[in-house]
């Protein structure tokens, strides 16, 4: 009798959980894996550093050798243009997308381009509020945009401590920064700097003969080459990776606060390989992929099981600026126009 009650209870619970499975939440099941294998490939658009993206793809292909990942890496803003262009021509090439500009997901969700796909692991383990409860996007990665300098060219005592320090005439012609018209990281960071440090800072910075590059992955490379001494902005993860390889770089978390850039992922509604896309999407939020992104990619993760490598400053000890994709989405044209006025490109 008791067993019968338990069985009935279990049946009710099971029914409830499968009813929830009708919603956005899904897990990696053998059925999903089989369906993904039948598709055999997926197209992954991402703005993450090319090498890191290819590493992730290779790790997935090792786990699922029957499924080929086609990586298409572009700066987030160019990726946004590309997807916009393709969708207006009814070309549904991209299956799953990752962008360093969280504002893009607000636009895509509003346009109805994203599928509701919330990996079970994200719902169970990721902090509430970090992902869209309707499952259109979730934070695959995060990385602050930091100040950094070449330690062979700048002694630690001379190094800047804040954004405003960079206005010192001694940095004239010695700075490099990336471009918000191209990089989602920099667009987000520019918004946060404009809000928290002030646009007058950016206007004065433009008078410092700053070298402009496009991607947020490039400023650290210009420092290593010795082309410039200090980077105003750029990906923390590239600096961490290069430090690990022995490059003479040091990070500064500015006293005004460090811009925080979250890179969500989503699955496209019109994906041509929907099962492979969902499989890759769910896999990329799992511990294996997240730990890889942190270890080999220098990224920050929202997965509570991930272990930070020794020597990296934990996010909790960094004064972070607040990210606000809704405001970025609303102000994007204005941010770009203002930037163009000051920096001329």
């Amino acid at each position: 009798m008791r067993n019968a009650i338990l069985a009935a209870l279990a049946a009710v619970l099971l029914a409830a959980s499968s009813a929830r499975a009708q919603g956005p939440v899904y897990a990696i099941t053998p059925e999903l894996e089989a369906a993904a294998r039948r598709e055999g490939k997926l197209v992954y658009y991402t703005s993450i550093d090319l090498k890191v993206a290819e590493d992730l793809a290779k790790a997935f292909e090792r786990r699922y050798p029957e499924i080929k990942v086609h990586v298409e890496r572009n700066g987030a803003e160019r990726q946004f243009s590309k997807i916009g262009q393709e969708y207006s021509s009814r070309i549904y090439n991209v299956d799953t997308v990752n962008s360093s500009d969280a504002a893009h997901f607000i636009f895509w969700k509003r346009e109805g381009w994203l599928a509701p796909a919330l990996p079970d692991e994200v719902r169970r383990l990721y902090p509430a509020g970090s992902y869209d409860p309707e499952g259109h996007h979730a934070p695959m990665r995060a990385s602050p945009s930091v100040i950094a300098y070449n330690t062979t060219l700048v002694p630690a005592a001379e190094a800047p401590r804040s954004f405003r320090d960079l206005l010192d005439p001694k940095w004239r012609g010695k700075l490099v920064k990336a471009h918000p018209g191209y990089s989602g990281t920099i667009l987000t960071a520019t918004f946060q700097i404009g809000r928290d440090v002030g646009w007058d800072f950016l206007e004065k910075l433009a008078g410092q003969q700053v070298m402009q590059v496009q991607s947020a992955t490039e400023p650290p490379r210009k420092l290593i080459a010795g082309e410039r001494q200090v980077m105003v902005d750029g990906n923390e993860y590239i600096v961490l990776l290069e430090q690990a390889r022995g490059a003479p770089l040091a990070i500064v978390y500015p006293t005004e606060g460090t811009p925080m850039v979250i890179g969500p992922s989503g699955v496209m509604k019109n994906a041509r390989n929907p099962n492979a896309a969902r499989l890759f999407h769910a896999w990329s939020f799992g511990l294996e992929a997240q730990q890889l992104a942190v270890d080999a990619g220098g990224l920050r993760s929202f997965h509570p099981g991930v272990k930070e490598p020794a020597g990296r400053k934990p996010l909790s000890e960094i004064k972070l600026m607040k990210d606000d994709p809704v405001a970025v989405e609303k102000d994007v044209e204005q941010i770009k126009a203002r930037y163009l006025r000051h920096f001329r490109t």
Binding site: L50, A57, Q85, S89, V213, Q214, S215, T217, E218
Partner: protein, 571 residues
């Protein structure tokens, strides 16, 4: 089989009436190929977002400094490049074509070889060489002199002028040296007999005779500089300015503003047409002087003690577009730091491994690029052959109209064509965006004029008497075509084929607008890699791409045989 030959012979007996239907078909095809994108550009330039007619786009072009400044910058840039290219190429061409300078044959081959180098690859190589602080040359300069300032900053207006001139001077050089080859010696001899010193002969006789060619080549350099996209995109953005082509490109950021982009493209088209018209007038008026000569072979000027200094100067100049950049690329391909010191600790095979083992786009991009290059070159040289055949056989108005259509794309800058094709083929009825076809059409259009010019020259050099002699001796028309006409044209066809092949591989400005993630070509892959600063991977892909191109072009030239050597004559 015989019936085909018979009917061919019968029809041939009645004259070249085959040209009728061919003419109509070719004309319709060309009109569509060129008319469609240009029509869309004109339509968009004069309409607002809702499609209502307006002049507002042009008013904005004049009033908005973020649009008008790039226009004036571009014009200034093109003038400087044209002047610099002409000033360096003219003495070079004279020394190679008209003097007894040692190594002049090698110099000519090398100069032509710098065509194969895509300008954007040259720009990236020059970043490695002359970035103000990390550039190899600037480092050497500082080490040698102890100076604090760089010798040369490639991220500047002057730097951009220099780098573009490196890859446009060869155009002036080839046009001019070909013209100098044809200037007969007797005019110079006459001046010499009348007692003029050597420098007066050069300035008073040779230069005026070569002036039309010099002006024509300079006009080409101007147009190249004006319409180039890759080099400014790579060098001008770090320098903090836009040219009109990079500006047009940013206008396609989402949400795209094709109306403004189309309006910004029209001035380029107008300047090009004006310049080509001017060029045709200059050449038309002055050209007779050369043709009027008696045709005695040019005799080289003796340089005497200046032979070796001249040779040194020529090869020092060749270092700028060729030796230095190629060395920089080779070094970057196997170095951890592209511009780092020459030392074994800096060596790595990581870039090679990344490009060929890890990078998932490598294989597709190589396949796409060379598939497109082969098909465009084959279809393009066939089309050029047909048009040149019809144009050579018919001097009437339809024939000339066809010739005009085949030459018209030369007036359409790559970026403009890219905009036009994008507008034409992303909306119904035929959506080609996202396929290789749209790239094929773009490349075919862009490269047609060069191949057509090549073949027109070949047909003009073909005396009808040779064919007539063959016919009189009893050969059929088909046999004459096979045994006389075809072998004589082979050199021209293969030269045209090579020109299209090279041009397709190095095309970026239209490709960057038209390629999608599944239809990427190498030029676009390199452009993308540059945006994230992966210089090592670029160097590996660039070197591999050049090797394949040289191999294919070398093979094609080998097919022609040593005697009929195809020497591409760029426009």
């Amino acid at each position: 089989m015989t019936t085909v030959a018979d009917s061919f012979a019968r029809r041939a007996g009645a004259g070249p009436d085959l040209s009728g239907p061919v003419l109509v078909a070719a004309a319709l095809f060309l009109a569509g190929l060129i008319g469609l994108p240009i029509g869309w550009i004109a339509a968009f330039a004069f309409s607002d977002r809702d499609g209502a007619p307006t002049l507002a786009n042009f008013i904005r072009l004049l009033e908005d400094p973020t649009l008008s400044e790039p226009l004036t910058t571009t014009l200034a840039l093109s003038c400087c490049v044209a002047a610099l290219a002409a000033l360096t190429a003219a003495p070079l061409a004279w020394m190679v074509a008209r003097t007894d300078m040692p190594g002049r044959r090698v110099a000519r081959v090398l100069m032509t070889a710098s065509f194969v180098t895509p300008p954007f690859l040259g720009a990236i190589a020059w970043e490695i060489l002359a970035a103000p602080n990390s550039g190899i040359l600037n480092r050497l300069w500082r080490d040698l002199t102890g100076a604090a300032d760089p010798l040369f900053d490639v991220y500047s207006f002057g730097g951009l002028v220099f780098v573009i001139a490196c890859y446009t001077a060869p155009y002036v050089f080839v046009v001019l040296s070909n013209a100098l080859d044809r200037i007969p010696a007797d005019l110079e001899d006459a001046a010499g007999i009348l007692g003029a010193p050597r420098w007066r002969i050069v300035l008073g006789v040779t230069l005026p005779l070569a002036l039309p060619a010099l002006l024509a080549g300079t006009a080409v350099a101007f147009l190249q500089a004006m319409t180039l996209f890759g080099s400014p995109a790579i060098l001008a953005i770090p320098a903090g300015f836009h040219t009109i082509t990079t500006k047009i490109y940013t206008l396609f950021q989402f949400p795209p503003k094709p109306q403004i982009a189309a309006a910004a493209a029209l001035p380029l088209l107008l300047v090009t047409i004006a310049l080509l018209w001017l060029q045709a007038r200059i050449l038309g008026r002055r050209g007779y002087a050369v043709i009027g000569g008696k045709g005695s072979a040019p005799r080289p000027v003796r340089l005497g003690a200046w032979r070796w200094p001249a040779c040194l100067l020529v090869f020092a100049l060749l270092a700028l577009p060729l030796f230095l950049p190629y060395m920089a690329l080779l070094k970057a391909a196997i170095s951890r730091l592209p511009a780092g010191p020459f030392d074994p600790a800096n060596l790595t095979l990581a870039h090679v491994a990344f490009v060929f083992l890890e990078f998932s786009q490598t294989r597709d991009a190589f396949a796409n690029t060379f598939l497109l290059a082969l098909s465009t070159a084959s279809a393009g040289s066939l089309l050029a052959l047909v048009v040149a055949y019809v144009a050579a056989r018919r001097a009437d108005l339809p024939g000339r109209a066809l010739e005009f259509l085949a030459m018209a794309p030369i007036a359409i800058p790559g970026v403009v064509l890219g905009v036009g094709l994008f507008l034409a083929y992303t909306r119904g009825p035929v959506v080609l965006y996202g396929t290789l076809w749209i790239l094929f059409l773009a490349f075919l259009t862009i490269e047609l004029p060069a191949a057509f010019q090549q073949l027109r020259a070949a047909f003009r050099g073909l005396h009808p008497e040779l064919e007539e002699a063959s016919r009189i001796l009893g050969a059929g028309r088909l046999q004459t075509l096979r045994r006389i006409t075809a072998p004589l044209l082979k050199g021209g066809v293969i030269a045209g084929w090579c020109l299209i092949f090279i041009g397709t591989v190095r095309e970026l400005s239209a490709a960057v607008m038209l390629s999608s993630s599944t239809t990427k070509v190498l030029s676009v892959v390199i452009f993308d890699l540059n945006e994230s600063g992966n210089l090592g991977a670029i160097a590996v892909i660039g070197v591999a791409m050049l090797l394949v191109t040289f191999a294919v072009v070398g093979f094609a030239n080998w097919l022609t045989g040593a005697a009929g050597g195809a020497r591409p004559q760029p426009t």
